[in-house]
Symmetry: C2
Subunit: 90 residues, 2 copies
């Protein structure tokens, strides 16, 4: 997966990421990865559901995987956080 | 999937649901479905990650699927909400 076809879900509104996915696909991408960590995971699922149900009905979810990542924190020990990757393909 | 082997993720703390999964498996279930809607989706992923990484390393995620559900609201029109189902198997 080329880095530019990966959408990282952060704290913006859901529709900002929906637009990012739609823009990527309209500019020629045939496969998109939507990635999120922690509380943004719910938003990642919203983004993929809205894209496929409302904007691009030919885009299918081909795989969903979850993992646990360790991120460094200011206060010493590493923090474990869940992550999700949703792959969508034309 | 028998109804009693389905864990619905709500507003309790993550560990309450981790315990529910572990209890189900220890009482003989070999397959568990973890379901959540809306913001609880992130917690559902946390629950499955904690269970498989920390408590039951022989439990694997066999499938993850998402969908959009319509729920009735007090203020008229139906509300669309994303949902997730994580299947785990021994």
């Amino acid at each position: 997966m080329a880095e530019e076809n990966t959408i990282f879900i952060g704290k913006k509104g859901t529709m900002a990421y929906v637009l990012a996915v739609v823009t990527q696909v309209n500019s020629g991408a045939t496969e998109i990865a939507i990635k999120a960590r922690g509380k943004a995971i719910s938003r990642a699922v919203d983004v993929s559901e809205i894209v496929r149900n409302k904007f691009m009905k030919d885009l299918k979810i081909t795989s969903i995987s979850t993992s646990t990542e360790e991120i460094a924190t200011d206060e010493g020990g590493p923090l474990k956080v869940s992550s999700i990757e949703i792959l969508m393909k034309k």
